[in-house]
Symmetry: T
Subunit: 143 residues, 12 copies
């Protein structure tokens, strides 16, 4: 079972961000924990600060992975282009947010990219990713 985890802008700086919103973990630790907790999953982790590269990752996912997990971070709220690329992608797709986006600035309260995924999870810090993998496995099994 192959799952690609796409992390958007500034998530490479995870450990250095506001702990109250994002938790204390670095991105590397988060990735290690996912591997350790889901040993039956073959993960590929990618991160980019570039909107277009994220689109490239999504476009390439359909043929190579069983599911896609994405944290579009700051692009969740503005990127019609990422939304369009998710709409084209036909494998199970799950959006995650570390922080609870319904409890932050107004401009973060709506994700325009989430509408073109199966669903989304927000607010459980690193465990948002855990739940995403948990759900991805179910979605793959039920395809």
């Amino acid at each position: 079972m192959k799952i690609i985890v796409i992390n958007g802008p500034n998530l490479n700086m995870l450990g250095a961000r506001d702990h109250h919103q994002y938790g204390t973990e670095s991105l590397e630790n988060l990735e290690s924990e996912l591997k350790r907790n889901f040993e039956d999953v073959d993960f590929v982790f990618v991160q980019s600060n570039l909107e277009g590269e994220i689109i490239n990752f999504i476009q390439g996912a359909s043929d190579n992975y069983d599911a896609l997990i994405i944290n579009p971070a700051g692009y969740s709220h503005t990127s019609v282009a990422i939304r369009d690329s998710l709409e084209i992608c036909k494998i199970p797709k799950i959006e995650v947010h570390l922080s609870n986006i319904s409890d932050r600035e107004d401009f973060r309260s709506k994700s325009i990219t989430a509408s073109k995924t199966n669903g989304y999870i927000s607010g459980f810090k690193k465990y948002s990713y855990f739940a995403a993998v948990y759900l991805a496995k179910i979605l793959i099994a039920n395809k």
Copy 2:
């Protein structure tokens, strides 16, 4: 481990609702499946169509349960009163939605109650509840 699952208005009619948005399961089946999949959890399931009764359930939860899972349904988008009762409640709280609320009518795109939970999950039909229990167990373990 005791978890209360609070379902809001019209969820007692689950099997009769739009299958594309809500899946085909009845509420009873959903509850049975949760019990079967999480045998270590002691579930209490309640449902009400009354905003105030839901508030009563939330107010009573802190002293009697380890975590609270809530699907406020139509009240998610309008109820300041439920939001206030969630704010007072101090155990782990998770909001779930069967449908992907970011992909429906505009008035459903924002949950005002979710902002006073730990986080929320939307779009995975019955599996939104599965993921909520999965996360509730982690949150309880990490308290």
Copy 3:
């Protein structure tokens, strides 16, 4: 032919309300007049000030009545939950308003519940109900 007439909050006080908007009739008189004018109809009249009880009435209507007439009153403009329960209900449904809601405060100009009925009638005081019964009979006959 069985028709349920559901009246929402404050309609039990009908005779005491602003006569210019609501007419001079009490709710009891209105109900008597309906019975007298439509002797072939078997009416059940219910009224509640509780949003959730109104949902209960709607949920119970499908199996027991040929048509449903509802005046959601103050809940017309705010209740996503009543809207959802109307969407599930599959018998002919007609919304009525005593006053002309397009000629009052801005927050009354749009009914979010009406969109999930067959149609609605607004502004004819007690005769809005007369027309609703008149139409309900046609809708039942044409099912």
Copy 4:
């Protein structure tokens, strides 16, 4: 009893419009059915695609008819001028819509002309007109 029925733009094409919203009837059939069902009413039917001609019809109605039924169609949502002419007209006035305007595009959800009629009926396809005549007769009798 003389009633004028004023139909606005594109209603002359009724049979050719979206059947889901407007029903399958042509305007001619609709008019015939009204005559057949209300034999005690002396109907005059007029239709125009021109906003100003509709105003002319309304201005001429007070002296010549006992009641006015109007479907302003596309002008319902934009015409301050028709609204003003309805305000001046002192006979019973009823607005009708074939489709349920609360369940369509946002720009159709509010009728600015309806506020200057006695009331309005929306969503019952050709039966909206039936109910309008039914109510007009009551309003005339109660003048």
Copy 5:
């Protein structure tokens, strides 16, 4: 002199709420203090989390009390139905808020229920109620 004090949702949890906004008092203490400070007043205290029950209390007040004091809490900002019931009630009516609603979240800045009371008091924690009783006595005396 009989005064009914109606407390809305979550006020039964008063002592457990945010002290900065609501003060430290429990609802019971608040009620005791009111009795002790206004010995000439015959108080009836009711509280409910249900919008419709609050409407029931208001509807019953006209015939049984000299004045009504209400804290609609979370319903202040959304309930057209409570607003309508207050409009019908003809005894002196005063709305109170413990916190200063003009200094909190945007959705709390406007009370739609207050517009149908004589006036409202906001921000003085338990003393908002004191001032309400002080004013109720004046209003009763000046009737």
Copy 6:
């Protein structure tokens, strides 16, 4: 000195409109009074309920009159097309309103046609037209 006075929809019904807003005069009387008070002016008075006919009048004005006075009535607030025709017209142009449009419904508070005239006058009932002629004469003299 030739001046065309263009009156828009419903102004032919002037005497029958709300006296508080529009005064008591009929349109004929208003026209007679203007002639009597400004004997040096050669007036042409036209009125139409049709937006397009008003555009025709405006298009024809440049070559035949020294100034244009217009009361677009209900079209003031919605007609981009009249606005465009006024922009093309190169003689002095003055917009008048009988009522004070800044003190009425919100949708009347802004005239989109006035922006393409030299200026406008609002609120002086029939004397708005007097002032318009007074100003037209000055504008013609100063060309």
Copy 7:
């Protein structure tokens, strides 16, 4: 016949302002021309940059003048306080603007003060004042 002409902020700099919008005249010249053209009027001219002083002028006008002409300039669009003082003042009141406020920045398109005058005139540069005096004389004569 005594008329007070109140000029608001920056009108003392009239000659130095944008000629396209305001004309080329200085305020002194404008005042002289008014006196020369209306010899039967006893004018008092005041100007202030202070909102409160303008309120003082308005409050003092009722007892001492037959009519009031005001150009609130920048305060037209923001001053609830000037609006309130105009509402109290009971003599004929006319608002003038040199420029056509419907053809400028959005924030100038609506005057909140004009709603509490008899009416207003906008866009004729210095001749707006001429027309205001012309109308004031009529209003005084018709009182």
Copy 8:
């Protein structure tokens, strides 16, 4: 191949309008050029300032022409009625604008009529029409 070209309000004044937005051509020249450049097309050119006449033209087009080209001008931004008539019309339909409507006043930035055509072309002055004919021929050929 028969194509009807419908021009809306003020386009009969084309040569007299703002050259920067509309070019220097008169409507007659534009029509001649179209004929000269597309000799295989049998053109019918109509123009009207009346919204309703334009609807009449559209309603008559389906049976008599192979395609329809329309410049609704000022009605593009306000006319629900023209939009409805275009929706009914089943031949290829192309909307054109001489000026680039995305670079002008805000109220021109959206065409509500264009949504019921095959597509639209904006900004190329007279060449917008050329491209429309070029496309109409392709659409007809591909029917």
Copy 9:
């Protein structure tokens, strides 16, 4: 105990304002009544129509008074500057309104100055001031 009562624009005209909103009392009478009813309080009453003078009063209050009562009148809805001066002032601060601002024009429904006081009282005519003094005494006693 020294309390300053600051009255904003137009309150010097109190007796002459709309009695339905403001009561019948003049400002002088109101001040006398306060003195007579609260003999233990040393009042200073100031009034100004100038926003800046009101700021001066507020800035001077901290060192000289035990509490501040303010009716900012028309400035409540627009003055960021008064809001800022209230924020700096550290003695108990109470805002009062004679009328019920939640039941008037939209632009009066929110007070931006009240957010920087302890709380506010609205709608009890002269008794709003009585309650303010009553509360000021409590706040001073509890400091």
Copy 10:
């Protein structure tokens, strides 16, 4: 004659997108067809998912091509940066959209980039590009 055709995000996936909106063609086919139909044009085709690379293409176009055709896709609705780069570019510029953007989601109804091109074409699927080339040739010839 050299023309650069710049395609934005997700257009490399053209064949895989919603056929109803975008047609059935792949991007390669579309490019081939353009070459075959316009043999006198020397085309360069570029595509990128990266906003910044698209800006690079635009910046490089002025010196190397006679005209620029761009489909900014998802960036049309959000990219101030692409808009700025188009403003700088001085050769003929044409924006194309495959789908009719006025008939889709609200956030697609306005292109902020189109305002800095000569004009735009929307809705004709692959033929939007054909018309763009047709117009580009005219614009080049008329420079």
Copy 11:
């Protein structure tokens, strides 16, 4: 080189304001530091809480100073009148803010006065003034 520094409402209380937003300095210290750091500049410092006095200062500046530095404080966000006076003033004009207005309440995020200055500086506490003087000297030198 003469520079006038105009400080708006509440800046005379600078030392007493929120240190996090405004720094710890008093206004006197700030002025002294400016003099000490820019010995070649002849400063005049004025402060007023009155909008109109600030306008007076601006109107007087053109003839007497080489440049104007202004902190309109609370008036930045509401004063059309100050904006108009800045537009008239023809010497170099710089607006300063101590706090970063883009990071505070929504109503502070836009300065309507800044648009009529050469430019503005926000967020550097007392050093905003330093930079303003630094820039004023450059602007004067480059006139």
Copy 12:
């Protein structure tokens, strides 16, 4: 003292842009002038049209520079992602704009990135950068 100056999209074209808004200088000249005027500063200049590359520059700045100066250009108004990267960066940060963004199109009036810098400077053309360096030096010295 090492300062990185990050220039966003289209600033590499500086000399070719609208001189009224941006001045006449090329980016190279601007950089040379900064070096010549601040010889004690060790500058690194970078420019990119790619949002993600700008984020890369910001992420890399904390460890390598004493301060960061950024002109996000078109991304200032839309990029949540750049805003987030600035929030993480802990060295002094200053945003600059060549033009006065409060005096341009509405969509430029608010910078969402500026809120996460120390402050910003707008409107002084190349001198905005001068002032930024001047301030950066002060901020570094005061760290």
